[in-house]
């Protein structure tokens, strides 16, 4: 018999970035309320950009996030470059790709080890995990250190990069630095293999719900920068048409907007990229996916972290090969490509750790006059709630504590970055 009333009220969910609440209310087995409330203060970055010289945009917007600083900077630079008619050199493209891998590795390792693994290993946070299994946490720290140093070599520092600029870089890695990095990346394979082994053994919940997955796509590479927008429901859109895909709308219980495309909601992030771009994965990443029993289309949201582990393998292998390519070419200290005009509009898109990120700028006589940033977590919110609504009825036989924990794990699986997603300008309460 159904319990008369069951409520879940998680105020400020832990091990996610920013502030969100989970609210569930079940009466006589019927779901009355099931929401992920976003209570983070809006950030107003788009307003901050208005009136600023275009050169400052990437430095301002990289402050949206300390984890995805390179992702925001890259999307921002691409938006500006498209607006002002700049085509970066092949060397810049390679360095940006390598830099990007450093950020994906750093973020995914943080999420898989420090934020998600404690749930599966029955501990409350990374500190007891460090006591119980120090070798696991040390492995994570070792890998994060390599990833951070990669970004440091390419762009000065990972958080709020310095050397990335419109049209290129202002600083270049030394051959000796790239050679040392290459050695460390190759040595990192042992830790990455151990990560795949760890995630092959974790009891990841098998809950599934079919949904639309969206990611950037290129035919000839596993895409993180530029490309087109592609859906598992069919359909490809140029990046410039992002509004046709995101369709943002305001909901009462969230200071971040919700989005939908061909269904009521869609998902972005590692699992979406895996589903859209499986064919372009490195062979070693496909082997890792097979070890974790992942084959597209995967519709199990808890497996987003496993898809991140697949991407850890891919990004490491691609970083090794990019480093070799750059060393072979030899790094030249080239000037950034100059702008072709001082006014225009451009859209930059990157698939950052948590999903597809859009920056859209209108620039007039060298100053930003309009900006729109659409953040991955905002695109996932409606989908997370749809998962919550589907999951709750299937676990009502469990204790309230177990239900609460399961809901927390579900939200955490999406690796939400809540403060990034709150960019809503008009909030109306009734």
């Amino acid at each position: 018999m159904a319990v008369e009333r069951m409520t879940v009220d998680v105020h400020h969910l832990t091990r996610v970035e920013g502030h969100g609440n989970i609210v569930v209310d079940v009466v006589n087995g019927e779901l009355k309320q099931c929401e992920l409330e976003i209570v983070e203060t809006p950030r107003f970055f788009e307003a901050m950009l208005r009136g600023r010289p275009y050169e400052e945009s990437s430095h301002i917007t990289s402050r949206i996030c300390g984890i995805c600083a390179v992702g925001h900077a890259t999307a921002s630079l691409r938006a500006t470059e498209k607006a002002l008619g700049v085509n970066p050199s092949p060397q810049t493209v390679l360095l940006r790709k390598l830099n990007f891998h450093g950020e994906i590795l750093d973020s995914h390792i943080l999420h898989a080890y420090m934020l998600v693994a404690p749930d599966f290993l029955g501990v409350g946070s990374v500190i007891p995990l460090a006591k119980a299994a120090p070798e696991v946490v040390l492995r994570a720290l070792r890998m994060k250190q390599v990833a951070g140093d990669l970004c440091k070599i390419i762009c000065g520092r990972h958080t709020h990069p310095i050397a990335m600029t419109v049209g290129g870089f202002t600083h270049f890695p030394l051959t000796s630095e790239l050679e040392a990095l290459h050695k460390r990346l190759v040595a990192m394979r042992t830790d990455v293999d151990a990560t795949v082994e760890l995630y092959s053994q974790l009891p990841i919940p098998a809950f599934e719900r079919d949904t639309e997955y969206i990611a950037l796509h290129k035919d000839d590479e596993y895409c993180f920068i530029d490309g087109v927008i592609k859906s598992t429901d069919g359909g490809e859109w140029p990046i410039e048409d992002y509004r046709k895909v995101t369709n943002e709308s305001i909901v009462k219980h969230s200071s971040a907007k919700h989005t939908h495309n061909q269904r009521d909601s869609y998902a972005v992030g590692a699992l979406a990229r895996f589903n859209v771009n499986y064919d372009q994965l490195h062979a070693r990443a496909k082997t890792a996916a097979a070890a974790m029993k992942l084959k597209p289309k995967v519709i199990k949201p808890f497996y987003n972290t496993a898809a991140q582990v697949v991407e850890i393998v891919h990004c490491l292998e691609d970083a090794i090969s990019l480093t070799e390519q750059i060393l072979k070419m030899g790094v030249r200290a080239e000037e950034p490509v100059p702008i072709a005009r001082r006014s225009g509009e451009g859209v930059g898109a990157c698939d950052v750790p948590r999903g597809t990120l859009f920056h859209n700028y209108v620039i007039d006589k060298g100053r930003v006059v309009g900006a729109n940033c659409i953040i991955p977590t905002g695109q996932n919110l409606a989908n997370i709630e749809a998962d919550m609504r589907a999951l709750v009825p299937t676990i009502l036989d469990k204790s309230q504590a177990d239900i609460t924990h399961m809901m927390e794990m579900l939200v955490r699986a999406y690796d939400p970055c809540i403060s990034c997603s709150t960019h809503l300008l008009n909030v109306k309460f009734e």
């Binding site: 400020h12 832990t14 091990r15 996610v16 970035e17 920013g18 300390g66 984890i67 943080l110 420090m114 934020l115 409350g124 946070s125 990374v126 500190i127 007891p128 460090a130 006591k131 120090p134 946490v137 040390l138 720290l141 070792r142 994060k144 250190q145 951070g148 520092r157 958080t159």
Partner: protein
């Protein structure tokens, strides 16, 4: 007994933010001093959890950082983290880990069993942690004092006279 454990002098903070650059300033002072063998100077910038890995290879770590102690600008104290002066942000440890700093890194190193046996922190009360580089007068004035104190500290331990307490 002469103590030859490798020693790390770790400056923390952001020189672009006023008195937060005091660690880097003391490090610059020490760069002009004669370093005893086994002493490494490192600008750690704004630290994250990986600081745990940086300090694990040393027997002694001397950290210099701006510290809010509620005292007059430029006053400084030498203390050890075990004296309870450092408050780690519990939310950062249970929560996001997106804001983890020195206290969290030390707590993690302790849990991992890789905390160096001696950690000494030189905390300096800032006047302004603002949005431009440059130290305030009272903080700039104490930089040589702190530098000298640190060199005395390692002179003492290389002569076998330092108790290691803060």
């Amino acid at each position: 007994m002469i103590d030859l454990r490798p020693t790390l002098v770790l400056a923390l903070g952001n020189p672009l933010r006023g008195d937060d650059g005091v660690g880097a300033a003391v490090l610059a002072y020490l760069e002009n001093c004669v370093l005893p063998p086994g002493v490494t100077l490192l600008d750690g910038g704004t630290p994250g959890l990986e600081t745990a890995l940086i300090i694990r290879d040393y027997g002694r770590v001397i950290i210099i950082d701006a510290a809010e102690m509620g005292t007059a600008p430029g006053t400084w104290r030498r203390f050890s983290p075990s004296h309870g002066h450092l408050r780690e942000d519990q939310e950062a440890l249970r929560g996001t880990l997106h804001n983890a700093g020195l206290a969290e890194a030390l707590a993690l190193a302790q849990a991992l069993g890789i905390l160096p046996s001696e950690i000494v922190i030189y905390g300096v009360q800032p006047e302004i942690i603002g949005w431009e580089p440059g130290l305030s007068d009272p903080v700039r004035a104490v930089v040589p004092q702190i530098g000298r104190k640190i060199t005395e500290h390692w002179e003492a331990f290389t002569n076998g006279q330092d108790s290691g307490s803060g």
